[in-house]
Symmetry: C2
Subunit: 134 residues, 2 copies
DNA sequence: AAGAGAGTTTACGTTTACGTAAAAGGGAAG
DNA sequence: CTTCCCTTTTACGTAAACGTAAACTCTCTT
């Protein structure tokens, strides 16, 4: 059987975040785990959301932005206005991500160039005689 | 002739940041423009650095991290230890960027799927008769 | 019964990256 | 000279995302 519920410490270990952070995401309206008495019980849906939150963070999303996307996703898909709005948001986000990807390509390229330079310099140190051109 | 110096407002307009931000980067040791009296005069090197700072920001670098990279880059390339350290930093940074790129691919994929869903839903609204299957 | 260990609430503290306002210094235009 | 505009310095303010500490509550375990 696949695991179907999680405690806060399980999730915090799996994703390497503190329980404090997870509770904070709940405060901000990004998670809403069930309760068993006072204790929080996380479903698989909660777990997926946590994963999405963290991925969003890695990409520079603010929590409020991620929450807005969740709300849009949960909202009434029948409302035409909502859907158009959602499409706009998707478009904006895509532009940002594509810019980010270009930035990454640029930096990766520069890193490679820098690495080659350093390696060359190291080679010259290790075989200084070669510098004479023989 | 290519432009060779810039004022703070020129740069702030070109890159769409406030002068306040540019001065702040200087406070943090990321820029060190010349002075003409009290006024700041930015060279092309300063301009390049500003561009790099902003790109770093888009990728989630903290200013302190960008500064560290600048310092490494400026530092004594003759010192073997420095060079090894630089290579390590490059490696770390590359791993992070590659993870980020994977995140972006994932999100772009999800955005596409979400967009298709919404567009389908819109089509069904616009041609409800087709739902019957005729 | 008593302690250990995890989880909870409440609330104040902290860091990063600037925003914003106040006060003052040129310089160039009228 | 006065006015206007840009720039500078100084300094306090702020939002986001938690960290950290205090004081409880439960639930076992010994």
């Amino acid at each position: 059987m696949e695991k179907t519920t999680y405690t806060i410490t399980e999730l915090s270990r799996e994703f390497d975040v503190t329980p404090r952070a997870i509770r904070f995401y709940e405060d901000q309206g990004l998670l809403s785990p069930a309760r068993e008495g006072r204790r929080r019980v996380y479903s698989r849906r909660d777990r997926v959301r946590l994963k999405l939150i963290l991925r969003g963070k890695r990409l520079g999303f603010q929590l409020s932005e991620t929450r807005a996307l969740f709300e849009l996703y949960d909202s009434d898909h029948g409302e035409r206005g909502q859907m158009q709005y959602f499409l706009e948001k998707i478009h904006e986000r895509r532009e940002l991500l594509q810019q980010q990807r270009r930035d990454i390509e640029a930096v990766l390229g520069e890193l490679e160039a820098a690495e080659r330079n350093v390696r060359d310099a190291l080679r010259k140190r290790d075989a200084p005689a070669a510098e004479i051109g023989a």
